[in-house]
């Protein structure tokens, strides 16, 4: 871990004003901000560990738990909300067996509801990693995840 973090932060000088970019870099590389990594950053940047957490928890972009291989973001923006985002979330939750904000035990899926993702015309919509899926209903959702699961199998 220490070696890895050393590498991740190699382009930084160890100044306190680098805190946010440093956290971004860590999250970029590790997918989230593990406690040990934040402690390392605290020492490296000479910032109190409570401040590191304070800043990290202030911004919605930072996460403190690892994410699954597939990041599912369910849009809850106005357009999607009107078109039944709640139902979409429930259905996905049923399909992958986790609630909003959770990661599945096999580290395959992370489910999160987010604000508008800018594809209102396709509402209700979600993203899985970088692909957008729109105009969803229970059926299409089931289809998507069937395909996903099949892909997994073949990958194994």
């Amino acid at each position: 871990m220490e070696k890895e973090l050393n590498k991740i932060l190699s382009s930084f000088q160890g100044k306190s004003n680098e805190l946010i970019p440093a956290l971004q870099q860590i999250q970029e590389e590790l997918g989230y901000l593990p406690g040990d990594a934040m402690l390392y950053a605290a020492e490296f940047l000479n910032v109190p560990e409570s401040t590191v957490f304070g800043v990290a928890s202030f911004y919605a972009q930072f996460r403190f738990t690892p994410v699954g291989k597939n990041m599912i973001m369910v849009c809850k923006g106005t357009a999607c909300h009107v078109k039944g985002a709640e139902k979409v979330l429930d259905e996905i939750s049923r399909q992958v067996g986790i609630e909003d904000g959770e990661t599945s035990a096999d580290m395959q899926y992370t489910l999160e509801s987010v604000a508008c993702i800018g594809c209102c015309a396709l509402a209700p919509c979600i993203t899985i990693n970088s692909e957008v899926h729109g105009r969803l209903n229970a059926k299409s959702i089931e289809k998507i995840f069937k395909r996903k699961k099949a892909e997994e199998k073949t990958n194994e």
Partner: protein, 890 residues
């Protein structure tokens, strides 16, 4: 400078350093406020202190604006109150409405501002979010954090940052979810919090609140009984019980601040296990007895022994008055100079070394001067852990711009604040310090005029530096030459420079050399005898300075008047009306050995727990068991007292009057708050009774003040001190007469040596007596925990302190842990040539590879079974900081 301002039409003259809020409050004009605290930098976050200035119709916050000449301030009008009310209502929306069950009820600042500003209940109810209650964080044994009552004023966060320098707390999350958070929002006990409670005393509402909050019926001003810092405290008394402690804001030492022990560590005072009656051992068992029986038995027995067969261990926990009486008893009644106390195990080298080089073994400066130093060199001192309030001063110095050099083999907390951390190998201090001196001489950074006018023996010293080329020093100490050079430059070119040191310097077979090396360094740069500039040995026990001053030492009478000096002998013979011995007595460690050899036959031991505090504890036990007659006097039945023939119950600091002298030579009053528990009695009373039973005159003291007056009569440095003069604030010795104001800085013009000059000492490096080898591959060094004191007699009887540090942890570097094959939390057995001890492994980078560390607070893991009794030839201090051990999985 003063300026004229008008507040609500009242004309005032106020200091121009004040804010508008401070100026108003100081003059009894209330402006509502929640995030203001007089000890903290204003943050302007609650926005309740709104005022209008110079008739401009804009509202500004009074806590952020400095007063100016001619300023007019309006503190209240309908507009101001309207905005305040809106802001206040938003606070109430997020605050549990449960005042009657809150411990802060009637003492809460939210209530205070609310009653002043007023709120609209309906509006609050409309805005109220029904968020679920957040569970109260009860993890800390001394206080709780209830987020549901927190008004996010940030005072706790700023306290922990600005005063404590710990930064355990910060705002976390955002918007409505904002909370006062530790790292990862973990329970406080799992954070870096040091439980000082400074945030708790400042929280304006019931969010941070002591667990056991009983309001006292009266308070008594006295001094903390733990360490040598000597913080002022107010004991809260309710009936016959101590129920609270608060920091004394009037104390020049701590200005209200306290560490965790001082603030919360008082449960032991009324503890069930306190000794309440004398105990006499009959057929191997202790039997309770009355005072008369016990005292007569002691008097009868003590009379049987010749002076050279009798010894006393006095106590740095006791008052000056008691130490005075105890040494007077030993010398005048028993005719023996065999009296010593635990200073032998801590600062004997300072007393011996500094007496030779600069004439006096005490701190040359005051605690409050530390924060004004331009550079601080802390060597062999884990300041934040062992002298917490002095630790705060070092942090303050750093914040004021001082350069901090830390020399320590271990990565102590202070390293975080250091500009340079010299991680030298344990026991190589002489080489390190001489190396630094060499750089200073080579680069000609010396203070020539000081050296010429005020010192002697410089040339011989300079010659001895030849040996300490940086290659050689780097090889011995393990510190890169570059760092040594940098440290030397910082120290020499940032004056005033102050050296702080403690046991890491003294507890070595070359402890006296270490101390001399330190005085060499200070003299070289003329950093002595000035404000914030000097040599400062941080004394350990609450009254170890006083016990030394009072002559609880084998070679001196009170005031360091030598027993071998015929004039001093004559003076005391006349004063005490008896014949005295001019043969210097034995030291603590020598007394133990003489008991082993049956030369010392009777021992009077007061407030010492030698079985845990002295090196090679097994040997100490055997020695004490060989005594013919052994009297122990203590507040608890300590491990050592169990071996005694008679045990006498002593009153604690809270139960008697007297004085303690702290590490900065300040003689301070302690005061009786409650009656002695059970049949216990103050130590001075007990010793006087024994003397009287032996038909000796000169022990008819009615109270501690009478004793003190005798002390002042015979001790030049205490001459001008009386109880009356130190009623409010202690004085720093020497106090030469009734008018003298005390001496914050020593050696301003002359040194108290024969030649009135300070002396340089040529030195050679000697390695520690026992170094690692194949069989015992690791160095063991001893240290202290913030949460316990010494052998734990008091702190181990405070439940919360036990929870914060419950057992002995051997701190092992990850590299060594791998070699040994132990994991964090594993049981291990530590073995040295003298014995073995069980403890639990803590894997940490704090310990360098090859060195492990243990404290000695735990009787279950008596670390001093392991330590090496090898002595420094001059000061006779054992090498408690270095011995060779091996560690196996237990």
């Amino acid at each position: 400078m003063k300026v004229n301002i008008t507040i609500d039409g009242i004309k005032l003259k106020v200091d121009d350093s004040l804010t508008v809020l401070e100026a108003a409050l100081e003059n009894n004009v209330y402006i509502p406020n929640l995030c203001h605290h007089k000890d903290l930098i204003p943050s302007g976050s609650c926005r309740l202190c709104l005022v209008e200035i110079n008739n401009r119709k804009v509202q500004v916050i009074a806590c952020k604006i400095k007063v100016e000449e001619g300023m007019t301030v309006i503190t209240d009008n309908p507009e101001i109150n309207f905005i305040r009310q809106m802001t206040l209502e938003l606070l109430h929306v997020n605050h549990t409405q449960d005042c009657t069950n809150c411990m802060k009820n009637t003492n809460c600042q939210l209530q205070e501002v609310t009653s002043y500003i007023g709120t609209n209940e309906t509006r609050i109810e409309q805005m109220r979010k029904n968020r679920p209650l957040i569970p109260v964080d009860t993890s800390n044994p001394f206080f709780n954090l209830d987020h549901n009552k927190c008004i996010l004023c940030g005072i706790c966060i700023r306290t922990c940052n600005e005063i404590q320098g710990v930064d355990a707390l910060q705002y976390g999350y955002s918007g409505f979810d904002t909370l006062v958070c530790t790292f990862l929002n973990k329970p406080i006990k799992e954070s870096v919090c040091e439980s000082c409670g400074e945030c708790v005393v400042r929280c304006p509402v019931g969010a941070l609140i002591p667990k056991n909050m009983q309001r006292p019926s009266r308070t008594v001003k006295t001094i903390c009984p733990y360490c040598g810092v000597g913080c002022g405290i107010n004991l809260g008394v309710r009936g016959e019980k101590i129920v609270s402690i608060e920091g004394d804001y009037e104390s020049p030492v701590n200005k209200g601040r306290l560490c965790v022990k001082g603030r919360f560590g008082y449960e032991w005072i009324n503890h069930d296990e306190r000794l309440k009656t004398p105990l006499i051992k009959k057929a191997g068992k202790f039997v309770e007895s009355g005072w008369d029986e016990a005292l007569e038995l002691i008097a009868k027995n003590f009379s049987k022994y010749k002076s050279h067969e009798f010894a006393t261990f006095s106590s740095a926990r006791c008052t000056n008055e008691e130490n005075y009486v105890i040494q007077k008893f030993t010398r005048a009644v028993m005719g023996s100079n065999h009296i010593d106390h635990c200073a032998r195990l801590c600062h004997a080298p300072s007393v011996a070394g500094l007496a030779q080089s600069i004439g006096s073994g005490a701190m040359t400066n005051s605690i409050k001067e530390i924060s004004d130093a331009a550079s601080i060199f802390a060597i062999g001192s884990n300041t934040t852990e062992s002298h917490p309030i002095i630790g705060l001063k070092v942090k303050e110095a750093k914040w004021n711009g001082a350069k901090i050099i830390v020399a320590n083999p271990r990565k102590i907390d202070l390293c975080k604040f250091a500009d340079i951390w010299l991680q030298h190998k344990t026991g190589t201090d002489v080489a390190l310090l001489m190396g630094i001196c060499r750089v200073i001489v080579d680069k000609n950074l010396i203070d020539e005029s000081f050296i010429e006018k005020r010192s002697e023996n410089f040339d011989a010293f300079k010659r001895s530096l030849k040996e300490f080329g940086l290659d050689y020093v780097e090889k011995i100490t393990g510190v890169p030459a570059k760092q040594i050079e940098a440290a030397a430059e910082i120290y020499a070119s940032n004056s005033p420079a102050s050296i702080l040191y403690a046991m890491g310097i003294t507890q070595h077979t070359h402890g006296t050399d270490n101390v001399l090396a330190i005085s060499n360094l200070a003299l070289l740069t003329g950093n002595i005898g000035k404000l914030s500039s000097g040599v400062n040995p941080l004394r350990g026990q609450n009254n170890v300075q006083g016990a030394c001053d009072m002559g609880a030492l084998p070679v001196v009478y009170p005031g360091y008047q030598k027993v071998a000096d015929p004039k001093a002998k004559q003076k005391f013979e006349k004063a005490w009306n008896c014949k005295l011995s001019d043969t210097p007595g034995l030291t603590l460690t020598e007394i133990v050995n003489s008991a082993y050899n049956k030369k010392i036959k009777a021992l009077y031991l007061i407030g010492e727990n030698s079985l845990l505090s002295e090196p090679d504890a097994n040997h100490v036990r055997k020695s004490l068991q060989k005594l013919d007659f052994f009297v122990a006097q203590d507040i608890f039945l300590s491990e050592t007292a169990r071996l005694a023939d008679v045990v006498l119950p002593a009153a604690s600091f809270a139960e008697k009057d007297g004085t303690f002298t702290n590490t900065e030579r300040r003689v301070q009053r302690i005061r009786k708050a409650i009656n002695p528990v059970g049949n216990s009695q103050p130590d001075w009373w007990i010793t006087c009774q024994i003397a009287k039973k032996m038909n000796r005159k000169g022990f008819d003291f009615k109270n501690s003040e009478e004793i003190f007056n005798e002390v002042a009569l015979l001790t030049p440095s205490y001459k001008g001190i009386s109880y009356k003069r130190i009623e409010k604030e202690g004085l720093q010795w020497p106090v030469n007469d009734e008018k003298h104001k005390g001496t914050p800085v020593l050696h301003k013009d002359v040194f108290p040596t024969a030649s009135s000059k300070a002396k340089f000492f040529p030195l050679k490096y000697r390695p520690p007596a026992e170094l690692p080898d194949k069989q015992y591959p690791l160095i063991l060094t001893t240290e202290r925990s913030l949460y316990h004191y010494h052998t734990g007699t008091m702190t181990r009887r405070v439940d919360g302190l036990n929870q914060l540090n419950e057992r002995e942890l051997v701190e092992i570097n990850p590299v060594d842990a791998k070699t040994i094959g132990v994991n964090d939390g594993d049981k291990v057995c530590v073995t040295s040539r003298r014995g073995n001890v069980d403890a639990v492994a803590k894997i940490t980078n704090k310990s360098p590879a090859g060195t492990v560390a243990m404290s000695f607070h735990f009787f279950e893991s008596p670390t001093n079974v392991l330590t090496n009794p090898a002595l420094d030839p001059v000061a006779k201090i054992p090498e408690l900081k270095v011995c060779a051990v091996m560690i196996e999985k237990g």
